[in-house]
């Protein structure tokens, strides 16, 4: 049975959500965190294990240098301080898929701490404070047998594969995130999505959420409007897609609101997100059994990254998204408003790509935020998935620059592109969109316009040359927009002697 929930609007009318996100990232190192076993996904069970990652008596861990390097890079990319000296710690608790019954992790001495990052949602930039990023190891994987569809409840027994045990993880923990109530879930989603892009750019993880290489736990609590007292929080696990981050956070807000509004108490507990049903269910209530008895890992020596090493790694980092935005805005000469439109329209990368192909930033912006954004909106797809790329935009713009197309015709070409009618050249051919710049054809049209509009000609002749504009309009109409407007004006002026 699922708990009664509030409509999100009702929930947000009474309560402010407070979020905290813990993201676990599996690194893409060749070997595990503390041993030389491979980390390949999907290998046959228990083929990637050794005494160390099986936790056999006597085995000892040795730290993977590449994992430390990745942790430092992630820390730097999130504007963290990097510890000059830090230790691993043992987190003690029993679980069948954890070979040693302690997880080698970091406790009060994380390798990276006190950072921040930014995400943009609906044109607003949100700063998210990063508490810490620390190194740890993954657990094995249990398959539950004999119950319904692999669920743990009702299973008769479980089968454990330790291939995943010991794969390096970086856990990235935010400080509490407090944003406008109606934005909380979207900010959470944007944060996880930003992290994925960042981790890909750093080349430290495959970030395959479907394979569990990026996993998110969402801490959610509510406080009544105006209150400064934090409510009891729940920790929702298994939130493993961008969409479910938003959905799970929203669900928890509505669930907790219903509990609180009915005079109930939110339990401090672990909850599980179910992608299929879109609800969270109660897991384990926090209790004194959660005494992890952390202590410094005696089998590993402290990690003390030299400042030289840290600076070397800093130099390899790709440009931070916020720095890059500032740089691009300057290079493009956009106003703050223009830049925000581009970013909010999810057109930043598309504009960058188009400008790289020689199109002016203004023209690139015009197409992506104008005609193409409209088309995307109408068909309900993302701008990047329209089937039109920077290459096509640059090609069309080149035709405009050469005078073969005007803006109006170009829009029709884009329409054809969106509808999959072929290349720009094919569309121009098929739709007959080429601009008429042949003098004789233009002169014939001009003659027809003069003949049809004696009153306008009269006005021009009586010393009002501006009235000629109406004739140009008539000519263009005659040519169904395909006339070269500049040429028409030139020829018309010659004819009228102005």
């Amino acid at each position: 049975m699922t708990a009664e929930v509030f409509a999100i609007e009702d929930a947000l009318a009474q309560y402010d959500p407070v979020l905290g996100l813990e993201v676990h990232v599996e690194l893409n190192t060749k070997s595990k965190m503390f041993c030389g076993c491979p980390t390949e996904f999907g290998a046959p069970p228990n083929t990637q294990t050794c005494p160390v990652c099986l936790g056999l008596p006597g085995a000892l861990p040795v730290v993977n240098a590449k994992a430390v390097e990745a942790a430092i890079k992630i820390g730097l990319a999130l504007n963290c301080e990097i510890a000059e000296w830090c230790r691993f710690a043992r987190k003690n608790y029993f679980y069948p898929d954890m070979p040693k019954n302690f997880q080698t992790s970091q406790y009060d001495e994380p390798i990276a701490f006190n950072g921040w990052t930014e995400v943009v949602v609906d044109g607003e930039t949100y700063r998210i404070e990063i508490e810490r990023a620390h190194m740890e190891e993954d657990t094995g994987k249990s398959t539950h047998v004999g119950g319904a569809t692999g669920r743990i409840h009702g299973a008769s027994h479980s089968l454990v594969d330790y291939n995943r045990a010991g794969i390096p993880l970086i856990e990235i923990v935010t400080k509490t995130i407090e944003v406008a109530p109606d934005k909380a879930a979207a900010v959470a989603k944007a944060y996880v999505s930003m992290l994925r892009d960042l981790l890909l750019a750093l080349d430290v993880s495959d970030v395959r959420m479907d394979q569990g290489s990026l996993r998110c736990d969402a801490n959610v609590s509510l406080k009544p409007h105006g209150s400064t007292v934090l409510g009891t929080r729940t920790e929702t696990k298994n939130v493993n897609s961008f969409r479910s981050v938003e959905r799970a956070v929203t669900y928890e807000i509505t669930r907790q609101a219903a509990v609180l509004a009915s005079g109930g108490k939110v339990l401090q507990e672990t909850r599980h997100w179910h992608e299929d049903t879109g609800v969270t269910t109660s897991g384990r209530e926090k209790s004194d059994a959660d005494d992890y008895r952390y202590f410094p890992e005696p089998d590993l020596v402290p990690v003390a990254p030299s400042r030289e090493w840290v600076e070397e790694l800093r130099a390899t980092l790709p440009e931070a998204p916020s720095t890059r935005r500032v740089r691009l805005q300057e290079e493009w000469g956009f106003t703050d408003l223009e830049m925000r439109d581009v970013v909010n329209g999810n057109a930043l990368e598309l504009v960058v790509g188009t400008v790289e192909l020689g199109v002016t930033p203004a023209a690139a912006k015009k197409w992506w935020l104008g005609e193409l954004a409209r088309a995307a909106n109408e068909s309900g797809v993302a701008l990047g998935e329209l089937g039109v790329g920077a290459t096509e935009v640059a090609e069309v713009q080149k035709l405009v620059d050469s005078g073969a197309l005007n803006d109006k015709l170009a829009r029709q070409v884009f329409d054809g592109l969106v509808k999959g009618e072929g290349t720009p050249a094919q569309i121009i051919e098929a739709r007959g969109l080429a601009l008429v710049s042949d003098d004789s054809a233009l002169i014939e049209a001009i003659d027809r316009a003069i003949a049809a509009n004696p009153d306008v000609v009269e006005k021009v002749n009586s010393g009002k040359p501006a009235a000629a504009g109406a004739l140009i309009g008539a000519v263009m109409k005659d040519l169904r927009g395909k006339g070269d407007a500049a040429k028409v004006r030139e020829l018309l002026n010659a004819k009228l002697g102005i």
């Binding site: 030389g36 672990t270 202590f295």
Partner: protein, 98 residues
């Protein structure tokens, strides 16, 4: 007043995953109480400004290259398993989700 009660010992046993019998609890509580009195002597030492030693020697930065080494075969890995099935370790049903 003992420094550790029978209830506390029972709690520790739960944390340590040992199903102690009532008899053992009866025995252990006073024994632990005695031992705690002995080890509690460390509190007599004035050490507020003394750094703790977690490792016998001041070694740092011991790391290995990110290279693969041969694994155990699945047969070796499972050789000590009390029960195995489908090349996996077979364990009794698990009550709590992690």
């Amino acid at each position: 007043m003992p420094s550790i009660t029978r209830e506390e010992v029972a709690h520790l046993a739960r944390l340590a995953r040992i199903e102690l019998s009532d008899d053992e609890l009866d025995h252990l509580a006073p024994q632990l109480d005695q031992i705690i009195a002995l080890v509690g002597q460390v509190s007599e030492v004035a050490a507020d400004d003394i750094p703790p030693t977690s490792h016998a020697l001041p070694i740092t930065n011991v790391m290995r290259e990110d290279v693969n080494v041969p694994c155990l075969t699945p047969e070796q890995a499972l050789s000590g398993a009390p029960a195995a099935e489908d090349q996996r370790f077979r364990v009794p049903r698990i009550l709590e989700e992690d």
